[in-house]
């Protein structure tokens, strides 16, 4: 049992273990918790090839520890290629994740109880009923498919541009700001390359 107030559960299929958070125990009744455990046990019953994919998904990230030396050897091309690799891998991981979820969903004995449990989890976590992305299908659609009519209207999906805009703004400000610092150092040291203060401005390293 994980000491986290966020309601969640997970299966460690390689170890044959299931963990639930304190938040899930607080948010769900016994029957609902049982249906969530059914789902997680479904992950433990995954076929061998799915477990192999899961294993491959975990081990494929190991070469990324060499990102620094890759950038040293191949420069920005190395960095770019690594990021392309990450994007491709995350696409594959999402697809595999969906098929794993579908397999685990088949293990829930009563879809109605399971979707009610999910509703309680989403409610406790302030998670949106319509997400539009990710491994799990939308809660609202899942409830309808299970024959449960939610007592709340179908919500609009959350904004997708806001987190992206915030991230891009942060990276642009930090990136351009730091690049501007480098430009100032370069211009000043070009004007007086012999002066000790110019070398100091460059951090003690003369520009090549």
């Amino acid at each position: 049992m994980i000491e986290w107030e966020y309601a969640n559960a997970l299966a460690l299929s390689m170890a044959g273990r299931v963990a639930v958070t304190r938040g899930a125990i607080d948010a769900l009744d016994r029957e609902q918790l049982g249906s969530v455990i059914d789902h997680e046990l479904g992950h433990l019953a995954e076929p061998r090839h799915t477990r192999r994919v899961r294993l491959a998904r975990l081990t494929v990230v190991i070469p990324f520890v060499a990102l620094g030396p890759i950038v040293d050897t191949f420069g920005l091309w190395g960095l770019g290629l690594t990021f392309v690799g990450v994007i491709l891998m995350s696409g594959i991981a999402r697809r595999v994740g969906r098929s794993m979820e579908e397999h685990a969903n088949g293990h829930s004995e009563d879809p109605e109880v399971y979707t009610r449990a999910l509703e309680a989890i989403y409610r406790a976590n302030d998670a949106p009923g319509i997400l539009g992305t990710g491994v799990h299908p939308n809660l609202y659609d899942r409830m309808i498919a299970a024959g449960v009519t939610p007592d709340w209207p179908r919500p609009l999906p959350p904004s997708r541009w806001r987190p992206r805009l915030a991230m891009v703004a942060a990276l642009l400000i930090a990136g351009f700001g730091i690049g501007f610092l480098r430009l100032i150092a370069y211009v000043v040291t070009s004007m007086a390359p012999e002066a000790s203060w110019a070398a100091a401005l460059w951090g003690g390293v003369q520009p090549g």
Partner: protein, 213 residues
């Protein structure tokens, strides 16, 4: 007599550190200002509507935390001295970005709560640590080693780091994250009734459940 070139060197390097740290802090502030929360009074909203407004702020806040740490890696390369000459500069920039963004994320989380006064920062941080250890132990170690790869590049680093990463992945896959979380007090044995429930359900599902203490 003062060694002026050395004094200037120290001053300029420190000023670069502060300038880079300031950039990271400004970037964090702008990012979190864009993220919101977009509605002022969360208490008045029903959960589906509240979730719609809080979700982008939460996911964006986490993305910003990670993104600004990445900028921390690139900062010393962009700002002048190369990482080989100033590894501590990179560590400082990553640290600044991470510390500031995590603090802002806490402030943001409090504002996203239906009742901000009831928000327990300590419990939130504890829960976040617990989940990171249980589910993302291997990712954390790999990201950490990736950072170190920028500070200590070269083949010797790769020869040490790759086996460490492989061992950690293996450890995490075998449930080492939960065992570690238990040792650190972030997880505990399931109560008897819960273990009985899991056992009961596993008998009907035909899964490979391995009961543990």
């Amino acid at each position: 007599m003062a060694d002026w070139p050395r004094v200037l060197l120290v001053i300029s390097t420190l000023s670069q550190v502060f300038a880079v740290a300031a950039m990271v802090i400004v970037a964090s502030l702008v990012s979190f200002a864009i993220l919101g929360p977009s509605k002022r009074d969360m208490k008045r909203l029903d959960w589906p509507e509240r979730a719609r407004h809080t979700w982008p702020a939460r996911t964006g806040g986490t993305l910003t935390m990670l993104g600004l740490s990445m900028i921390g890696i690139l900062a010393p390369i962009l700002s002048g001295p190369t990482r080989l000459e100033r590894p501590w500069l990179e560590i400082l920039c990553v640290g600044t970005g991470w510390l500031f963004a995590t603090r802002l994320r806490l402030v943001q989380e409090r504002r996203l709560q239906p009742d901000p006064d009831a928000f327990d920062r300590r419990q939130f941080k504890r829960g976040r640590r617990a989940w990171l250890i249980v589910q993302y132990l291997q990712s954390l170690v790999i990201i950490g080693l990736m950072f170190l790869g920028f500070v200590f590049p070269g083949l010797p680093f790769v020869l040490i780091a790759v086996p460490i990463a492989a061992v950690v992945v293996l450890f995490a896959m075998r449930g080492g994250g939960i065992d570690l979380a238990k040792k650190l007090g972030y997880a505990s044995d399931a109560p008897e009734w819960l273990r009985e429930l899991v056992q009961e359900r596993s008998e009907t599902s035909g899964s490979r459940f391995a009961p543990s203490t």
